[in-house]
Amino acid sequence: MSGRLASARRRRDDGELRRHLRGALAKEELERLAPNVEVDALGTFCPEPIIRTQEWMARMGAGEIMLLLADDVGVEIDIPAWCLSTGNEYLGLLKAETVYRVFVRRV
């Protein structure tokens, strides 16, 4: 194999990803949030919750908060990952039985 690597570019470590899964806000803070947009993805599975998230986030203004309703367990990891990749802020999620309420702030 030939080829040269220009730099040791910083990469996120697993610990950073794990910490990010917890979200930026505590449960009590999430419960007090007043989202600007509520997006219903109940009954849908990957990648539909992400597709709806990216479509709505593209229409929202900076600082606005989206609440995603979903019952696909994968949102626990996919939404934080999507936020890390796009630079939006993952605020956290609340789970009641099988329904997730996921909060994301548009950056």
């Binding site: 194999m1 080829g3 040269r4 367990v73």
Partner: protein, 347 residues
């Protein structure tokens, strides 16, 4: 100030596409990862069934995971409605070992990518393709064909094998340095794993092999049977049903799908409209769906097979419930015991 070069990358989240994206970042290229959702992703399907990759861990979307690791924004594009009729059912370049139309699939995705490139003013497109890695789509002739038929031509860069391929426009114009690209080829992943080590990439799917149902021989057999009996009048729901359960063909018009566990039974429950249902009340049992219009003999066979896969399989007689539209009933049957005969019905 020099212009920021922007590239679109096809990002599945597998090792090769992750490396390709990272190599582009190393060269200062701004990357947007595109992930096409075809409806045939195995991880998506596991999630629908409620399966976990490890205890307590849901199956993850590898493209999003890679995007998070690399800080590459990922855009997921849903193509399943077009993909089925245009690619899966009608591939110009044929199928691989299963029902995988890999060459047409690449062309289709790259045609979509080219539209995005033109609409949004990106400079070029890259993929994680490696020369000689896959027997159907990554030999030299299909790589050339994919570049040509997608309309991208020399705007398509394969960073991992670039030194073995003709110079692309991004290299020619100095947007990327050819000497800092790679000459990886062949089916071994050893070189890619070494490169991943150098780049500090440790989290990628193992083993390799992709996330698509279509190369799977069992899935392909069911799909061929479906197309032989139903023609190309196919919906995405039909394709989903092929991924689940044991399938038996009772006649040219009638087939049955038997759930293998609780997750599959719950999944099949979503598809009862327009199909006959068969189940056992007295014992834990699969849910069986029948497609087509079953005769009395078909129904009895379906009840016997359902009884065989229920916990009443060792009983001499098992009462089996059935529902067809508004009609409901019960047949008391001896569970199907002849393995050879059952295998003849199995798709």
């Amino acid at each position: 100030m020099s212009k920021q070069i922007r590239a679109l990358g096809l990002l599945s989240g597998g090792l090769d596409s992750t490396l390709a994206a990272r190599v582009m970042q190393e060269q200062g290229v701004e990357v947007l990862g595109l992930h096409f959702s075809t409806g045939f992703c195995l991880a998506d399907h596991h999630r629908i069934l409620g399966n976990r990759s490890k205890p307590g861990k849901p199956y993850r979307n590898e493209a999003l995971r890679a995007g998070a690791d690399l800080s590459v924004p990922i855009e997921i594009i849903d193509i399943k409605d077009e993909y089925l009729p245009q690619v899966v059912l009608n591939p110009k370049h044929g199928y691989g070992s299963g029902m995988n139309p890999c060459i047409d699939c690449r062309i289709f995705m790259l045609q979509k990518t080219k539209s995005i490139l033109e609409e949004r003013g990106y400079d070029f497109v890259f993929t994680g393709e490696v020369l000689g890695q896959r027997p159907m789509s990554q030999r030299r002739p299909p790589l050339n064909e994919v570049a040509k038929e997608s309309g991208l031509g020399r705007l398509l860069l394969r960073p991992l094998s670039a030194k073995l391929l003709p110079e692309s426009i991004p290299e020619e114009r100095g947007w990327v340095k050819r000497e800092e690209l790679f000459d990886i080829s062949g089916r071994s992943r050893k070189q890619q794993m070494e490169l991943a080590d150098q780049l500090g990439i440790t989290d990628y799917p193992q083993p390799a092999g992709g996330c698509c149902s279509l190369p799977d021989k069992n899935y392909a057999r069911k799909l061929r049977d479906f197309l032989a009996h139903r023609g190309t009048d196919v919906t995405p729901d039909d394709m989903m049903l092929l991924k689940v359960g044991r399938h038996f063909r009772l006649s040219g018009q009638v087939k049955m799908v038997v759930g293998r566990d609780e997750g599959e039974n719950a999944f099949l429950q979503r598809f009862v409209d327009g199909r006959a249902e068969v189940w056992v009340d007295e014992f834990p049992s699969p849910l069986t769906l029948l497609e087509g219009e079953p005769t009395a003999i078909d129904l009895e066979t379906a009840c016997r097979i359902t009884a065989r896969y229920s916990d009443g399989r060792d009983e001499s007689k098992v009462p089996v419930r059935w529902r067809i539209g508004d009609a409901e009933g019960q047949l008391t049957v001896d569970p199907f015991r002849d393995d050879g005969e059952l295998d003849e019905l199995r798709i």
